[in-house]
Symmetry: none
Subunit: 200 residues, 4 copies
DNA sequence: GATGAATGAGCCTTCATTCAT
DNA sequence: CATGAATGAAGGCTCATTCAT
């Protein structure tokens, strides 16, 4: 079958199951049978269950790094409504491809001491928006923290929740995915386009 | 000891442990010993593990209903910056008391088919902000859905995340809780005070 | 409610449930809720679960004693086909009223060391057929044992099985209860009417 | 150790314990320690407790099928007393090897809805006696049902009870197993040799 | 006579993991 | 690279029973 393909099959199965049932709610057996491999093979390739999660989280980091997009404007710098919306739409489309991992990332971050990975992702996104990597000693600075809090709580989190809850929302309210996306973009426009500058 | 007090003790233990370790990551044994009761007693009072969660979720609903506050303005109707911030601060203080339940609520909502309770809470909050209960046939209307999406993704979710991740954020970035709160309010001011009207 | 009526309600519930699910398969909780009383009340009246079974078995013994019928012929003494069948029919009708207890009696007798009660019933039936109580020292005699083995394995056991499996047989084979009874009587006629004398 | 041998060891332990204590009265722990394996291994091989029983029941069916004996006469066709007795003796010896399974089979059949397996065995035995398999549409026919009722209630059931209660009977009455067998054969001779033809 | 709270042992089952092949 | 057997701890839950009221 080829070792690398097997690894991928396993990771894909874990990705979906962790998102659907939670990490603790998913047994290694379930992953194995969903991936069509034996349980032992998972241990052969990954050593233990937790490393599966780590691999997924690392995958998202390298993915984000791969598509380094220095042209992405900060949320509050979008020139006008239409180009901002188009940009958000694209952003959402990118995140949507990783929605399973984002879901697990959020789920695990809510547990005590489990937010490290989510914070890492937040900082990476910040860096991409700003362009240059932030020197470690500046991370706690008032200015950086102000931006980080803004990006994180009003930007990243709502976006993750959107891709994570998309299906459930549409089924629950009987709306189409496109309608939800449109309304979300409207909301995001109100909160993120032509808003005042950050407090100093 | 009195059955009602026992019930409370169990619920409080479950509330904290579910939030810290997740529902699936928390054993009934752990709840029992944390509450200082026997495992069987939990089953005597609640029947099964899942009903513990349900009770917590219902508690939050009745709590929210109890403090019906018809004077709460919609997020986009706050008159000026200072009174808005004061209002948000109060709101956050209220939610903070229930932060454990909110954390579980969010965590479970991310699982496939687990968002019902979160949606219920969202609708209840909406209703309170609007003043009148929304007739069932209007829930799917364009106007209501627009508001709901806005309230949910840019209002409720960031607020829940704030109270859920507060401790972790401060420990991770070495900031004080007050500083985080101030920055969050600044961010919320930018996104929710004097923002344009909802699209029609 | 009256203590005695309560006792009866409990016994009736136990009688049915033990027969349907087995003694070990029936919880005291199930008996309590089926009888519409609290679990504690069962312990108040009977002390422990096993005594419920004992009471049922004793009930059957006193019942059999109550209707002492000295006129009942030995199985092999029925004068002619028709009167024998009529007699069997009556016998079956009587046993049918106690079919739940007979079912439990048989079920428990199959466990290691659990046949004592069934043997007691067998001896009682023998005694009734013979007329006089058998002196203890004669129980092991060749003549008595010959008759007992005959009565037990070709008489009592098939009869108990008939009333115990009646419903299941009819449902499985789609026949009426009357048809089954008729065929059973035909079979019994062949084996028990005008058969040779016991070996000496 | 080899998976197949393990399976056998487990089945043998279950066979004996189920017969001695009943299915519900036997813990998986008991089976495990009696078989000298871990509890989890039982679940590895059989999935759940009930499947153990199913396997035992299936084993008896395949066993009966294996020794297809087209020469076995119907119970009522034995030519003379001595050859009939010899035949019964052989039959009993065969059943005795499976007495544990037969005991469980009978015990479970008495529970509501639990007789399916026993009926299956009955039909299989009938088929063997008759020689040709019975066409499904004839199973409910008067002629077949008459024979089945006869075979079942006066043949199979007494035989199962004999092998199931043998030990208990002998201990209770202080007789030898040979003596019991002799008396049983005497009884069976009276009921099954030179008896009238089936009613039409 | 009757109740609801409380218990501890045990239930069947699943878990993540290891090992020999 | 891949497997099936095997394990020990823990999982959620039910059990028969006791006790204070």
């Amino acid at each position: 079958m080829g070792g690398e393909e097997t690894r991928q099959r396993i990771l894909e199965a874990a990705e979906r199951l962790f998102a659907e049932q939670g990490f603790d709610g998913t047994g290694v057996d379930a992953i194995a049978s969903s991936a069509g491999v034996t349980k032992s093979l998972i241990y052969h390739h990954f050593g233990n269950k937790h490393r599966l999660l780590t691999c997924l989280f690392e995958k998202i980091l390298t993915e984000l790094n791969r598509l380094k997009r220095p042209d992405i404007p900060l949320l509050d710098e979008s020139p006008d409504s239409e180009s901002a919306k188009a940009h958000f739409r694209e952003e959402i489309a990118l995140m949507d491809k990783q929605r399973y991992v984002f879901t697990s990332l959020l789920m695990e971050s809510l547990k005590a001491g489990g937010a490290e990975h989510l914070f890492q992702v937040a900082e990476l996104v910040m860096t991409q928006h700003v362009g240059d990597p932030i020197p470690a000693e500046e991370v706690r600075s008032e200015r950086y923290q102000g931006r980080l809090v803004f990006e994180f709580f009003t930007g990243l989190i709502p976006l993750i929740m959107l891709v994570a809850l998309r299906h459930q929302w549409c089924r629950h309210y009987g709306t189409s995915e496109e309608a939800l996306l449109r309304r979300f973009l409207d909301a995001f426009e109100r909160t993120h386009v032509n808003v005042g500058p950050a407090a100093e």
